[in-house]
Symmetry: C2
Subunit: 383 residues, 2 copies
């Protein structure tokens, strides 16, 4: 990451917004509840971990650079953060992720049942401030914001369904077009499109500027996700907070992988697809135990009598990804220049977003400056 | 079940409402979508299985017996059915349930990731008709309905959190008071309170009658859940559609169990609590394999060399409930007269609900008749 001179402004702006939003969330989530520690207390777990708070900051900056007030937009911005964290909890369950923001995921700490329910509770609680908006902003604006949030939640579920259908169909030859559609739904909508549109709605801008905001947001969303994919392969472990290289182990569909598969030799593609179809190994459990029993049998340590009783209980031997497999993918991506390709694809979009931002308003402000720096930051960030 | 002479009216009323609601849901859920078969198609899976459609029927009957129109209430009633089924999908994941309405649960068919995401998608989609209500009913009424649905979703999550905290805390000595609070949140709110309140809101009744509806609904909800618990122990397998006796295997907190534990001897209570603390056995998997390996070792079939390599991979031997354990619980419940006790508790509430229903309106209608018969049906139904 090149240390841009104005990175301080970004950090400060994010930190300030995050403080406001956390105050709002603390006021929204009941503090000492009678429903066991397993509902409201856990709703603040992810939001309180070290995080950028990007989405509410984007929402607040958009609103304020267009003449809206902090007071008018804060409830909606906090709601976006609550939605974001509810999605993260459910996504972590769905992806079987181990770590989130440097700590174990919620379902690793409290089990899948609690994690699913806490996410549901957050989605329910998030409606409260959106309904309170009617008093603050009037019925019409409050409903337009609700409509936007409803669309955002649907788009996220659609994006997630697309990705899950690729995993389940073991469909690894995903085209760039598919990748961009999935990212538009899964990342852009809730990270940029909804935050910027809601900022614009609160600031009361006309439909044409709402559309311009939508275009800018879609560009930033894709650039942001591509950078996320790049960091997964190239970041420094300490700064990253997630599992480095985890995307290759999981066979996640990224622009990088799509490019490598589209440009490599037929033989390499064949081998890569074979690797991608294999699941990542599980740390321990039945499959490991089964594999060890099969080894003992092969070595002749287990005789017929013992093995015949164990055999019906063994897990099917499924080939799993090996470190060699993943190293092959990493080399392929390197050799095809796919990371550089993805960097260019992100940079092009970030620059277009930056140019369009200049058309948004002529009034200079720290809020507009933040958004402009952000369009550089999305492709230069280290975490 | 005693075949009440008017059971035909109930069946017919339910069937008619269900047909309207399914039409509404089919119009709401996109038919052939591009998001793989794993989102919108699956949203209709549970709703299309054989089901009573109780919640929308209660909502429609309440609205119409108070002078509201079918057209005015239908969108909201359909939304309740969508919420109900989304909760069922997530509940089945959280409870690890195998069957729902005579067929495998959604996560058994398509995996936990897809099931969690489909539920989230349904919760997002459910906001659409509630927002369309603004055109149909005006802003004020539409917002009051949204507020009620938001409260309903929160109450459900709180009820689920209560139950999960009991399971995780292995707290089996749950008092009646706790049971009733959990049921109020987990069952009554989304099965009766929200449907009846929304029916009343659409029919434009005054606040005092909304409160009366709330009282009736809370009584019916508890009676309904108690009957559910009774059926789990006494129903005929064919009519039931769920796993008979599953509550005892799962150690579910029911009024029946609370009564048995509160009234039995100290020795029986001790033994019962010991049984309840044990998990139910898993069908296959690592624990079964581990147990078989320990047996082989005990029988001397496995020698030191083989066992020493397998031992670090074995699951901790955890005692699981046995058929004898569950038979003991069933006998205890029988001996303490706990089922009869629960039947009385349900009947008292159903009768009170029936008396209060007579105060709701003086205008006779098939809709009021349905609600009156329903308050008998909740404690006499066989499924």
């Amino acid at each position: 990451m090149s240390a841009v001179p104005s990175s301080n402004l970004i950090e400060e702006y994010l930190a300030e917004c995050r403080a406001f939003v956390l105050d709002e969330l603390r006021a929204l989530v009941p503090a000492r509840s009678r429903y066991g520690p397993e509902l409201y207390d856990l709703m603040l777990d992810y939001p309180l971990r070290a995080a950028k708070g990007l989405r509410p900051a984007v929402c607040i900056a958009t609103c304020r650079c267009l003449g809206g007030t902090l007071e008018g937009v804060l409830k909606s911005a906090a709601t976006l953060e609550l939605y974001h964290n509810a999605f993260l909890i459910h996504d972590d369950v769905e992806d079987g992720s181990e770590k989130r923001r440097d700590e174990p995921t919620l379902h690793r700490l409290h089990g899948v049942p609690v994690a699913v329910n806490v996410g549901d509770g957050m989605l329910a609680l998030a409606l409260t401030p959106l309904l309170e908006n009617t008093r603050l902003l009037g019925l019409g604006k409050a409903l337009a914001i609700l409509q936007c949030v409803s669309r955002m939640a649907r788009e996220s579920a659609e994006g997630q369904a697309l990705e899950l259908s690729w995993i389940h169909g073991a469909r690894f030859l995903v085209r760039e077009h598919d990748y961009f559609r999935m990212v538009h739904k899964k990342t852009s909508w809730y990270s940029f499109i909804a935050p910027m549109r809601i900022g614009g709605l609160v600031a009361n801008v006309e439909e044409s500027r709402l559309r311009l905001l939508g275009t800018i947001a879609a560009l930033l969303g894709v650039a942001f996700q591509i950078q996320d994919d790049i960091l997964n392969l190239t970041a420094e472990e300490r700064a990253y907070g997630k599992e480095l290289g985890g995307d290759l182990w999981e066979g996640k569909h990224t622009l990088i992988l799509a490019h490598a598969l589209a440009t490599c030799s037929a033989a390499d593609r064949e081998r890569a697809l074979g690797v991608l179809r294999k699941p990542r190994p599980r740390a321990t459990g039945q499959s490991t135990l089964s594999a060890e029993i099969r080894s003992l049998r092969a070595e002749g340590v287990l005789d017929d009598a013992a093995f015949s009783r164990l055999e019906p209980l063994l897990a099917e031997p499924a080939p799993e990804k090996t470190p060699d497999d993943v190293a092959f993918l990493a080399r392929l991506v390197e050799r095809q220049g796919s990371i550089a390709y993805a960097q260019r694809a992100a940079a092009v979009r970030a620059r277009r977003a930056s140019r369009l931002l200049a058309q948004l308003t002529r009034a200079p402000s720290v809020h507009l400056r933040f958004l402009q720096l952000l369009s550089e930051f999305v492709t230069s960030r280290a975490r």
